[in-house]
């Protein structure tokens, strides 16, 4: 007899969620604490000095605005991809998931342009320049790593991972939902990060 784990595809009757969904929510709670700590650090550092610069003087607001739009759009498409699966339409799922991936890559390209303009500045702007840039690089960098993580997961689910649709459609839909929850969280971090870093 082999090990059988219940509630992999069907929700638990008492908690109303699958194992994976509960797990993702817990994981996101810990992520909130991670970014919360970094935002708290930013506030502490900012309040600790007299001459903290305004984000709009130092950072590229138009590019960041573009990225905000791109990410919000990707959040919509990731929901659409999940909804497509709910309506039993794998083809539409693939279209929307591809769009999500496209948006994420555009985000990273824009981010790279932004970073590059800082590094190629004379003298180069790095974390050593000042704590404003240091916290900017750390928070956006960590956020960027989360985007990359999301791209890897979403690409897997779009490619080889989607084979699960044939055998366990319910479980696969659950996976897309979890990936979508994560992706919304990554968007949400940006929604906080954008005004706090760029606009204040």
């Amino acid at each position: 007899m082999s090990v059988v784990i219940p509630y992999v595809d069907k929700p638990h009757p008492v908690t109303g969620v699958t194992n994976a969904k509960l797990g993702v929510w817990l994981f996101l709670a810990s992520e909130v604490m991670l970014f919360g700590a970094l935002f708290s650090a930013l506030i502490t550092l900012r309040l600790g000095v007299n001459d903290w610069p305004h984000g709009y003087d130092r950072l590229n607001v138009p590019l960041a605005t573009l990225n905000t739009v791109v990410l919000i759009f990707s959040s919509v498409t990731v929901v659409m991809s999940w909804a497509a699966l709910k309506m039993n339409n794998l083809k539409q799922f693939k279209t929307y998931m591809s769009l999500t991936l496209l948006m994420s890559v555009i985000f990273l390209v824009v981010k790279a342009i932004e970073y590059n303009s800082k590094f190629s500045h004379v003298p180069p702007i790095t974390p050593a320049t000042s704590n404003f840039y240091a916290i900017y690089f750390v928070i956006t960098g960590l956020h960027g790593l989360h985007i990359i993580g999301g791209i890897i997961v979403n690409a897997y689910l779009l490619g080889p991972g989607s084979r699960m649709w044939k055998t366990e459609p319910e479980r696969f839909t659950g996976r897309i939902e979890c990936a979508g929850l994560y992706w919304h969280f990554v968007d949400l971090v940006w929604i906080f990060l954008f005004p706090i870093l760029y606009l204040l």
């Binding site: 007899m1 090990v3 059988v4 817990l26 709670a29 810990s30 991670l34 000042s130 916290i135």
Partner: protein, 575 residues
Amino acid sequence: MTQAEHSHAGHHEMPFWRKYIFSTDHKVIGLQYGITATFFLLFGFLLMILMRWQLAYPGVEIPLIGKALTETGALTPELYNALGAMHGTIMIFLGVVPMGVGAFGNYLVPLQVGAQDMAFPKLNMMSYWVYFVGGVVMMSSFLMPGGAAASGWTSYPPLSVTAPNAQSVWLLAMVFLITSSLLGSVNTIVTAIQLRAKGLSFMRWPIHVWAQVATAFLLLLAFPPLEGAAVLQLSDRVFGSSFFLPSGLYIDGAKSTAAGGGNPLLWQHLFWFLAHPEVYVLILPAVGVISEIISTFARKPLYGYKTMVYSIIFLGFMSFIVWAHHMFMTGMGVTLSSFFQATTMIISIPSVIILTTLLLTLWGASIRFTVPMLFSLAFLPMFAIGGLTGLPLGLTASDIHLHDTYYVIGHFHYVVAPGTLFALMAGVYFWYPKITGRYMNEFLGKVHFWVSFVAINCVFMPMFLMGSKGVSRRLYDQTGYSHGAATQSWNVVMSTAAFVLLLAQIPFLYNMFTSWKTGKKVENDNPWGATTLEWAASSPPPHENFPTPVEVYREPYSYSPSSRKVSPQFSQQEA
């Protein structure tokens, strides 16, 4: 069918490396955690033995191995600092937490909720291996030029930012260890909540499950801020940022070239935001283990199961808002320190309630003095001493005098060493028959207990006296100070006792490894007459734990003291 046959029949034939190395079986992973953590606990202990030699006999060559360590054979101040930092780090992050949470949590939580495995078996395997890599990285810091990380387990900046490269290795290892804890805690919570057997409502959970779930929440929510802080400190060290470097900092007489503007206290806040909940991460699994053992050998229901559950939840919640009592000496101001003094006094209440319910469980009981029970009974006064000596540290007026002295060391070691570690040892003796199908040797166990009990008190009790005299906790050689010289003779006593304590672990280890093959076989699957679900499984449990699903019929700890009968959770009939 004998147990051995049964467990083999249940297995698909798997190659050795799948079965014992890269296993997804929570029981194998639990044992992997246990064995690795035992190694680290011993290693961390040995580091302390070296330090205790230096403290008892300052500047004297260490017998046998001294010449291999340094030129003179005695510890250098730098090496002493490194050993101190690594002792703390190894004991907490690589020893006690992986033992309490990794080993006990992994092995017991699925069994106690009647599950076949953890909810995410592959993730479980991954969390062990990430922990293992973190351990290897941490140990590799000993090989770095300039020696291992030496900024204390707290890694306070600016010293830690300007320290040699081993500190970066320390930070990197911490990121691994934190990641491992996060994966593990998600798994524990989901398993305990989702995979409960039929009939196992939340208020029927054994206290150990409650404790592990509360611990997992602490790890889940308190560790990420330290991960963030570690990233910031790495950035300071590697990319030259100044998160923790203030303006106008001088290093070795030269003005620092860093941009400055940072805040060293920021690190302390982020660090203690983890490290205070971490204290409860260390103690809660122990409380869980003790509750199981005390009610079993007292043959009585726990006095106040619900009180205990609510206390554990409240304790977990409060532990997030007491952290700055570690920082009273940073000039935080009266308003803030009043808040943290108040919360610190409040958090002592649930701790006392837990201890009291355990104590009252013993009232009118017919106690069986087995080895696990001896350790559990010793836990009660030891934890009480550890807890009560913490109160003066939580109030600023007395903390000013006691801060950073040996008193602090005595306080938290009473909680963790004769507290948590005794509880975990009790747990090893208690669940050994379940894990192996054999008892550990009773006589060796009693030798282990009595010698350890006496020795460990001789190690830590004098620390309160030394601390009250004002001896600072990080001194390499206290004889240079008059108040230190006056208490130096205690150091000889403490070091001798520490060495005896080390020797006392030999019968334990010998017992643990030899009983596996030669110990007395258990008569049945529930040899202690306990009530929780793990005792429904065979010993050792097969891969899928319960070949037929178990069902839960009642609360745990249904002992009837008058009729000396027991009704396990899994037996349909009332005894």
